[in-house]
Symmetry: C2
Subunit: 510 residues, 2 copies
């Protein structure tokens, strides 16, 4: 068993925090390896001469964030590191926060019990009219379980921390935050974002290349001005329907190309004569496909062939991957400035945090500064500052690790519950983030699956609902009797809801 050599310091940082930070560092530095057992809370408390509750708090935090796991009657063990999100600690570089700004232990440790009303719509899609009302069967019981692939779990949101940061920021000393800021967003936030996406996604950029905006829709509107009108742009089909609709509302010509198990078929791009591509290489929606390095290089090679060719990389949900090492962004491999990287905090923090950002390649940055400098930033400086401190002071990293643990548990539960379905359905989407896909092995239509689920009060999502609306295949996919596929999202559901939902699906599908 690992021997603790923590030197606790009186005053300043709380004791539980010191223990937590020490163990976290040991795990990160590889001094504590996966599978190693930690001392029991009682023995560590005795050894360190602190209250046992102090060690309990520290272990609780580590458990919450997925650094360690508890095995009944055996003790606490270190988890494999590769699955953990690690951000560079930028606190010392930018600004050491006053220790009094650290939220109370109650705020930090009890926040994951703050509940949202059940069934509350809170996902990325909510309000966008993404999902039409389900086709109702003959009798329509009220909705018992909504397997929405777009809703997220807000019960893990650290409201206490967010409130505390907001309160600290809204002091009169910060009254200049009420004045208009820089068009691209405040430099400090851009610096923090650039460090975050470098350490978590391998994205290489200067803060100067980042444009902060109120949501992806707005950033795409800016990009339309930047890339010029009459662009032919390619998307996969099925795809992320909201982005398809936004691009369709532009002066763009949107074409859809096919995808295989490695993602977009790059070969079709030349034939379609497009100059831009919209894609989600680390995690396609809805398929969950991760584009392997070979296909990525092929895509980048296509882009290198024309000076006006660009790839818009929507890295929307990259934080939630449960197996293996995180996959770097496509931008990380781009050597010639062909990739426009777009990220958002809607899913990782909360849908109401209307803050997205894009990383412009140098050549587009120059054009932006020359031609679009007069567009003011759409995010208030107060909101920018709150987000900046949330990331900079380590709360975002903790939140991500905590949420990932929560989602992984739901992911595994749903996989387990779906075991009896495997005879009749292929279950895929292990990298799809917050949903799984069920593909029928026998003859049945997608429409039939959706309707029979609705009959027992369960909402599932047909794959056709993610298909381009003008695509001929859409209606076809709904009614064809081969490979009918539905999406089951679990982000916002509770354990009992997942169990009850699957139980009802069993009644009608098996």
């Amino acid at each position: 068993m690992y021997e603790m050599t923590i030197r606790l310091q009186a005053g300043g940082i709380r004791l539980y925090e010191q223990i937590y930070e020490h163990i976290k560092k040991e795990i990160r530095d590889g001094k504590l390896l996966a599978g190693e057992r930690l001392p029991s809370t009682r023995s560590l408390a005795e050894y360190l001469q602190v209250a046992r509750s102090t060690v309990d708090y520290a272990y609780g935090q580590l458990l919450d964030e997925g650094y360690i796991e508890a095995k009944p009657c055996k003790g606490y063990f270190v988890c494999p590191m590769e699955e953990l999100i690690q951000l560079e600690d930028t606190r010392d570089i930018i600004n050491v926060p006053d220790k009094k700004d650290v939220p109370d232990i109650d705020n930090v440790l009890s926040i994951h019990n703050v509940g949202m009303a059940d069934g509350k719509k809170s996902g990325r899609e909510q309000g966008g009219g993404e999902v039409p009302a389900p086709v109702q069967g003959s009798h329509s019981p009220s909705l018992i379980c909504d397997f929405s692939p777009h809703d997220i779990d807000m019960s893990g949101f650290p409201f206490g921390v967010w409130k505390k940061i907001t309160k600290n920021i809204l002091t009169d000393a910060n009254s200049d935050l009420f004045s208009r800021g820089e068009p691209q967003g405040d430099y400090e936030l851009r610096l923090t974002i650039s460090r975050y996406i470098h350490s978590s996604r391998g994205v290489n950029c200067r803060p100067e290349q980042i444009v902060v905006g109120a949501g992806n829709d707005y950033l795409l509107l800016l990009l339309e001005k930047l890339l010029g009108g009459q662009v032919r742009i390619a998307m996969e089909n099925p795809t992320y329907l909201r982005s398809w609709r936004i691009l369709k509302s532009f002066s763009y010509h949107v074409v859809t190309v096919d995808a295989d198990e490695n993602g977009m078929k790059v070969g079709q791009l030349e034939k379609e004569n497009v100059s831009a591509v919209y894609c989600m290489p680390s995690h396609q929606f809805p398929s969950g496909t991760v584009m392997p390095i070979g296909r990525r290089l092929e895509l980048l090679k296509w882009a290198d062939k024309g000076a006006d060719r660009y790839i818009i990389e929507d890295d929307y949900d990259s934080e939630f991957r449960y197996h293996g090492k995180p996959i770097p962004a496509l931008q990380a491999t781009d050597e010639h400035g062909r990739v426009i990287y777009i990220g958002s905090f809607s899913k990782a923090i909360a849908p109401a945090i209307r803050i997205s950002f894009m990383v412009l390649p140098e050549i587009l940055l120059e054009k932006y500064l020359r031609e679009l400098f007069f567009y003011s930033c759409t995010v208030s400086r107060i909101d920018q500052s709150i987000l900046n401190e949330f990331i900079r002071d380590g709360y975002f990293e903790r939140h991500l690790n905590r949420m990932r643990k929560i989602y992984r548990a739901k992911h595994e539960l749903l996989l387990e519950e779906l075991r009896p379905f495997r005879k009749k359905f292929a279950v895929t989407g292990e990298n799809a983030g917050l949903h799984l896909l069920l593909k029928a092995r026998e003859d049945i239509t997608e429409e039939r699956l959706v309707m029979s689920a609705a009959d027992v009060g369960v909402r599932v999502y047909g794959l056709s609902e993610s298909m381009a609306e003008t695509s001929m295949h859409r209606q076809e996919r709904r009614t064809q009797t081969e490979s009918a596929t539905v999406l089951l999202g679990f982000g916002a559901l509770k354990t009992e809801q997942i169990q009850e939902g699957v139980r009802r699906l069993k009644e009608v599908w098996l």
Copy 2:
């Protein structure tokens, strides 16, 4: 002298608040008429059996908001009502706030002393690169006084109230505010805005017609999608350069038409073959021209002649008018749904409040709901709720009246200080909001005026800086020796800065 018949109630509402509300109501209801003298604070305190400081507070509030004025050695007198902004009290209709939510007396009454650092850029234009660096003369002293027409006075911003509302909203009970809201903005805020613009600007609309967005730029981007590409649109010249640049960045063809003392020459629109007009009828920038009813009807008549003709009314600064009754919006006279009304809170509240809104005519609303429903709202629900309470609970009205009083004092001071200039310059722009215009009567170039001011550390703004950048007249206007005109803004300046700035201009211009 007017006789007070206030019945004070113990408990609940604060005494000073009861006195303040009572007198305000009497003035609004016309029971207290302009010029009437109020009882002295001593005698009213004795009569009501309250502390004299209580009456002082109440009178202070009324003074701040421009309901009454103090004449030295004579007492307090009622001000003319027509200049005051009156919003409907919607509190009883929507929601009566708990009295404990009313901010402390200190917050409400001392907030106008919260200072911003001098010279802090905080105007509508800041960050947009609107104003190029001044042409420097042979020696360049540091900037002593910046007569920016775009900066506003943030010292009057009620930070305390804003903080209090924010704190109350960020309770866990409101955690659903972190979920995504309606695409057009939350209904409650739209209801509040519809009531506000109806009572203050005569705008007729249902909350359903309002689209809330993060700034005018974003709303214009949405409008581009709504009106379709290839639109020929007309603006006056000189005009509001930011909007000109935004429209130029569209697929629009922007033409400029001439203006006279009644505003845009409507006759030129047919000749220019445009289908849309961007204008500021209540208060043109930079001229300050108020379009009279005759010209307005002419403009509406032009719009009525084509089903695709629309007028975009930018009512950006309508709150700050110092003489006579407020002028209703053009939208108020529009009977056929030709006007798209755009309003913003950037200037009336603070530039960082990234909340604007537009009112769509029914026919465009239908198109919006059909074609653009998937664009999510760009303003966070938390920010929407803060603004909603700020307006709904009467703080906005108080703030506007207080700011108007502050700006009127600066306006009058600048007019007075400029008296010695009248021989050499025509001073106009009494309705221009936060700036005045000086037109040289003798031969001198605008460039010369700007440069000689810069020589003594004063920044003034040539009229050419508000001219369309592609316009041939721009360079001409800068260098022609006739009618050279400069703008002197006073919004963000302190009394001493205005005096010192004018003193220096006197040195070089007179």
